[in-house]
């Protein structure tokens, strides 16, 4: 037993003996708490921990997070086929790409956090989620997105993809990142905060891949086809939250 204020049973000075004695009476039913009702179920669940998901979840946190990060880099490099890349202003492209990639990675790291570390505060999760949701909107509205680049783009207008094509591409391109996140998460992304963060991270990756792939610089296209990729995860999160509130009222 350690001493001083690190001692387990030495109370702070303001705890008198009466309070301590009374608290100790709370131990009378500790034997009841010791009864084991879930051991067999637990052993059954452990026996069922097989397959690629179980293997992925049991990697260290560094490996799980690192795997997702590597996938992000590989995806970005593989999809970087923007035909006007040489003409597109780097002063816009670089900050936008770094913002989408950075926010996506930050959200994924938090979603894949181990439970033996304290959780981030709800406000922090909320702020990060808001940043993820708003970033594509902000970048789509910047005049640099379609200013000089749009005027000098070598891509003929008839070759430009339409908004709905990009929305589908961005959503589908981001989906594997959500799927891998689900595989890597030790809780199956059941907790609401984790699910929201990983969904938004996947959508941000979708935006990043669109940025690196799509040459259309029309502002309406950027809003309707690129930034809109953030809507499905927000919609799913709102639906799940409403469903839970309804379930709690019953």
């Amino acid at each position: 037993m350690t001493t001083g204020d690190t001692a387990g049973r030495q109370p702070p000075d303001e705890v008198d003996a009466r309070v301590g004695q009374w608290l100790d009476e709370g131990r009378a039913l500790d034997a009841a708490a010791g009864l084991d009702a879930g051991r067999d179920q637990l052993l059954a669940r452990l026996a069922a921990e097989r397959g690629i998901g179980a293997w992925a979840r049991s990697r260290t946190t560094a490996v799980r997070r690192g795997s997702w990060a590597v996938l992000l880099v590989v995806g970005a490099v593989a999809v970087s086929k923007r035909p006007d890349l040489a003409h597109y202003p780097l002063s816009y492209l670089a900050p936008a790409a770094l913002a989408f990639a950075g926010l996506a990675l930050w959200a994924a790291l938090w979603a894949l956090r181990p439970l033996h570390r304290p959780a981030p505060h709800r406000l922090q999760v909320g702020l990060l989620s808001a940043g993820l949701a708003v970033a594509p909107l902000v970048f789509a509205l910047l005049p640099e997105a379609y200013g000089a680049a749009g005027a000098s783009s070598p891509v003929p207008p008839e070759a430009l993809p339409t908004a709905w094509e990009c929305f589908i591409f961005g959503t589908l391109a981001g989906a594997p990142f959500a799927a891998v996140g689900w595989l890597l998460d030790r809780g199956g992304l059941v907790a609401g905060g984790r699910l929201l963060l990983m969904s938004l991270a996947a959508a941000a990756v979708g935006n990043l891949l669109l940025l690196l792939h799509c040459p259309n610089t029309d502002p309406v296209h950027l809003l309707a086809g690129h930034a809109s990729v953030m809507v499905p995860p927000l919609g799913v999160a709102a639906f799940v939250a409403a469903w839970r509130r309804r379930a709690q009222r019953r």
Partner: protein, 186 residues
């Protein structure tokens, strides 16, 4: 001190064995720490079924996170952090429902005899008083008084600063003293 140190060393040995594939080591760890987690979760206001589910989930997470454990890291606070984080996520999904009283059927199963009924009543009174504390203060007192964690350990488990932990303890113990005085407990 020696007992705590040897227990911690034993935990490290068991975890190392479990990381190496020894399932019996997991069983020993379960027997050692499942009762502790149940006590902490029950005193935190959860019902029997919820407690049982969360204890299972905690050990399932221990299994999945076993590669993360480093010798000397302290398995006891590690496991409690997992349990309390799972509890937080569970409470958010559950919403604010009335907290559970102690299950009298559990007392029957434990063989709490009639002559222990007075002790059981007093224990329930302590449980009720703990439920009236704010969550942060209750967690500190449960971990500090009942499970004998040090303030630095509690600070790491809860993810709050050491000063904040001590402030919670000070306020929690103060409230309990007032609760006692108002109800004329001797």
């Amino acid at each position: 001190m020696e007992t705590e140190t040897s227990l911690a060393a034993d935990d490290d040995a068991l975890m190392a064995a479990y990381q190496g594939g020894d399932q019996d080591a997991f069983g020993l760890l379960y027997e050692r720490y499942a009762p502790m987690l149940r006590r902490i979760l029950r005193r935190g206001g959860l019902g029997d079924e919820e407690t049982s589910d969360l204890v299972q989930e905690s050990f399932l997470h221990l299994h999945r996170a076993r590669a993360d454990y480093r010798s000397g890291g302290g398995l006891r606070p590690w496991l409690v952090t997992i349990a309390l984080n799972l509890k937080r996520e569970h409470l958010r999904r559950r919403g604010r429902r009335p907290e559970a009283a102690l299950d009298e059927r559990a007392e029957e199963r434990a063989g709490v005899a009639a002559h222990d009924a007075a002790a059981a009543d007093r224990s329930r009174a302590v449980h009720a008083a703990l439920q009236e504390l704010p969550e942060g203060q209750r967690q500190v007192i449960v971990l500090h008084w009942f499970e004998e964690f040090s303030f630095p350990e509690i600070s790491r488990i809860l993810g709050v600063g050491l000063s904040a932990t001590k402030v919670r303890a000070h306020r929690g113990y103060g409230r309990l003293r007032e609760w006692l005085e108002h109800r004329g407990h001797r």
